[in-house]
Symmetry: C6
Subunit: 253 residues, 6 copies
């Protein structure tokens, strides 16, 4: 069996034979409010604090000055692990403010989402430098949906996504690529091509049942891994995301 | 927890941990007749009169000479708070008449919706000037749907929306971007990309039940905020919009 | 409350606080056979004969030589009110015959629907002249769907519709813009952008129930007006269109 | 009431106040096998033999050498009424064979469907000549769907259809324009624009009930005519098309 | 009644007044596995062996080196009737192997499907030569779907199909044009335009009932022929395709 | 009956008269997680070890450094049969790492998926060389979906697929072309044209039943083969894919 990377998501690793195959890129699909950013930050934070693996968080849309403070409510101090040399943001997000803290070490000059000078090669170069600096083996890209703002047609988006996956795979990073699935459809139409490029796909579902929402995680595909076929309920608790492999999503009637 | 901006919408703030995270842009989606303009004007008027925060109303389609008088029925005299230096319209709407009142301080010359010379940078410059003049921290843009009149393809609309959000975020305005959701579908297909650009999305639903309409507000997503998952009924009363967090939208059967 | 214009449609004005807000443009959507032309002619004829307000009928598709005689069956003699100086056709329709009557005072030379020389600015100029001549405050445009014949892509149609609404609003006409809604869908997808440009939208529905049709009027939106939410049945009688606010469209089961 | 043209379709005229308004163009929509060509030929043949009105049959797809013999089974000898000077084919169809009969008087040289030299103006010129020769007041165009073969985009097809309707209306012909409605949907999406250009629309429906088909005629719209709302069953008998206004299409349950 | 061509499909001719109208082109639509090639080969083989009529099989996708041997299982030796001068393949298919047999008399040099030099006029010239050589009155084209590989946009495919039908009709061949209907939808959307170009349309349906398939033939339209409206079951037996006009497709419940 | 190639998939060959017709290309369609790569590797491995036939695995997306080790869990050592001269990878996949093993004999220089220099002719040349070297008669292409990354429009993808099938058929390889069917729809819309190009189509279905998945194999079409119409359940066991022709997919109710 191939070497595995622990996700740090409670309940998930046991569904996928102990973790994600090391050194590949995986797609994390979910609609708004499904907790993709929390999932990504948890993967990075737990990696640094529990498994001794450094990580990078590549911000393509929500800015680090928003993500960092938002994660404090789970007790995850990204700034702190940044200072310990176990973490770095790679900030490609379009919005900038006067930096109040100091935990955003790598800022791409000019090649940001929304700028005409954006270049995936520049982004990969900065990722490679940051990887070298903090010795990262984990990576989160939040989110590849931002590429649809940068590149006009689907074909170009798909080619840039391929370039990104190719780059991350050659760096032997175990990477999560977050992607917005606007309608939470069970199919993957919208990210069909992106899904087939990745080594695996995890989907975060949110179903409206009566007037509230039910959340369920699905391991759609992980190449080379014998994984569960079941939808597993998950919740976003004060400790982050927890998956409940023993529970069922819908009660029988 | 991040600093919050009170919405001034009765019943809403308690659903979102006390208010909107300060300094970010939020999307307010709704079909025709759901009360988006009323929501926006209430946010501005209550800000000025109850929370001591000045505001701007950026009119991209309905002209100020229509919005201003229409809000008088709720007892909101925008002209009056304009005279008090707590409010300004930024009038980018295409329709112009001989100004009968004097409460429209900032009129963009030439760069209006429907004109070939329209430029988002000009609009942002005028917003920045108006912000400075009235010391505004709140902003409403009514509505970004108007950009579909100005820019031919979706990609350009999306890029302009990004530029607008980027500009407002860098000005640290807490902004509501109104958008027409023509079919009141529960998904956000039509504004998928715009929704993911924003820090949060609030949806105003209107369901036809038998021969009348039922209204419900949904907090779809607010980054960094633990918000309710439930659809909450709301009504448009003589005091403006009121949300009823304790009530249910549909009776059980 | 803003000043109102009586529609002259029996039963409608009481649904909308006494009439349409004066000086704005409204969309009247309906499928074939819903009575849009009858609605428009009734608005003009009643305006001239009962409310002392002159009107214009801008014909973009069906020619005046067809509309005029067809309205005689309701007892509305447009030719007669034309002779009295209270009415004028503005004939932009593509089809021309030897004029047998004389009641078509304003004929656009060259700039007709279907001609390469069509120009909305020319149309607005002729409308302005006709308005001046008969002192019109009411206007019907039948129908803006004809613009889809003239302009190749949706964006251009939308921009021309904006130009038309802008022109009519600046002339302070209370205008009805008729539009064909081919499938009578309850949503307004097809005229989504046009609907959001207008100050209000009224929809004429026709439902096939068993083997005949049931008609219902819906006030979708009127900015600044507190209007009914209900679908109201209407019929096309010998006196024209009548709305029945007290009746229900569908019987309960 | 406007002057009417008898359709010659048994049972139809009583549904539309005695006939089609004289001098306008009407759309006849139907799927394959609904009898559009039979309807058109009956309109022409009955016009010539029962109402003393000459007619033209403009063939855009099926060639006259097929249509003529096929109508003999109803006892309609188009060749014969052609010899009597009451009828003429205008053959614009792409397929040509050695002419065996002589009843095709007007053959367009060069400007046929499928040829790069096709021109609607040429077609209208030949129609005008044929009209003059046989003093035609009736016209059938079979079918405008053929224009989709000739013109690449929908906009061009729509403009050519407008040109055709405009030409026929200016010649004061009472014309039937046949159009293929491939899926027999009740809506008119596919011919939405064409339908709104015409003075009226008649739809031939075919419903699959269990393993056979039920046929029903619907008068969708005729401007200026108070027509039935009901679907009326029709059959294709040895005497041609017969409509049964007294019968119902579906039995009640 | 027009002259007829026997199909050689057991049970079919009685459904269509004795056979296909001679000298026209007919569309045979069906999804994968419905037996289109078998139908076509049967039409040709029975023509040659039972009705004394020579035929051509124009192969546009599946190569003759596959079709020929595959038909032997029905006992139809195309090679043999080729040697007798009653049959010829016209091989336009893209795949070529060293010819092992000799029964492929007409091979188009260069103008094959998938080649940039493909020309419908060349194909028609070779068909005309082959027709002359074997005195063919029957023709099968398998399949026109291949034209979607050759021509980029639908409009071009439609024009080429028109050219093909026009050519075959002018040669007075009774031709079957096979077309793949990928989803076996009852409508003919996909081949709407092609269907209306043809003199008739026969559809082979395959319905999944529980875990197996039920086959049914529908005569959708044959111009000038009074045909059944019913869906008739058919099977692919060791003698080829057999239609069962007396049976029903679905049992009543 | 034509010569057959054993698939090596337990239970499948008996459904298709003993195997796949030798020398043709077949499409294997399936959504993510249906086991396409396992199916392909099993076909190759069993060919080499049980039927004495060498094979090629053309990797277009997942890299050989991932596929090879992943197949070890079934006990299939591709590296070993590569050393025995019975197998070769043809590596066209975009991702490259320092090769740790030596079992990837044929690496295309430059003409890889994702590179501007990609050429199907180069790929076919390398396939031909590898075929010659290991005397391969079997071939798997995993997956043709990767061509959608390389070629911008569907037409080009289809033409390249035709070129590939043409090339493999001329080499007389019995080839499986894997293709991702993102939504596991029963129709083949997405690969409609590709499906009709191939000599046969096998579909791997995955149905969500309650909260787990049910797998079923369907033989959609194999030209010249009398195959089952039924959906047959299959499982992915420790020995690879097994089809159960005697079982039913869904229990009756």
């Amino acid at each position: 069996m191939s070497e595995r990377t622990k996700t740090g998501i409670k309940g998930l690793d046991e569904l996928i034979e102990g973790g994600l195959p090391k050194g590949y890129s995986f797609l994390l699909l979910g609609g708004p409010g499904t907790g993709k950013t929390t999932f990504g930050a948890q993967y990075i934070y737990k990696g640094a604090t529990e498994y001794g693996e450094s990580g990078l968080y590549v911000a393509l849309d929500e800015p680090p000055f928003s993500i960092g403070p938002n994660m404090l409510k789970y007790g995850w101090d990204l700034e702190e692990i940044g200072r310990q040399g176990k973490f770095s943001f790679v900030d490609v997000s379009p919005m900038k403010r006067e930096t109040k803290g100091t935990f955003v070490p790598a800022a791409l000059q000019g090649s940001l989402i929304g700028s005409a000078k954006f270049s995936m090669d520049d982004v990969l170069t900065v990722i490679a430098e940051a990887k070298k600096r903090v010795k990262a083996t984990r990576c989160v890209v939040d989110s590849i949906t931002a590429l649809t703002l940068q590149f006009k047609d689907d074909f170009e988006v798909r080619q840039q996504t391929l370039r990104l996956i190719k780059g991350l795979t050659e760096m032997e990073m175990t990477a999560l690529l977050l992607a917005e699935n606007p309608e939470d459809r069970q199919d993957m139409t919208h990210f069909g091509a992106e899904a087939f490029l990745a080594q695996g796909v995890i989907v975060l579902h949110m179903y409206r049942v009566e007037e509230s929402n039910v959340r369920a995680l699905e391991v759609r595909k992980i190449r080379g891994v014998k994984h569960t076929d079941r939808l597993c309920p998950y919740r976003i608790t004060q400790e982050g995301i927890e998956v409940y492999p023993e529970e069922t999503v819908f009660r029988s009637v």
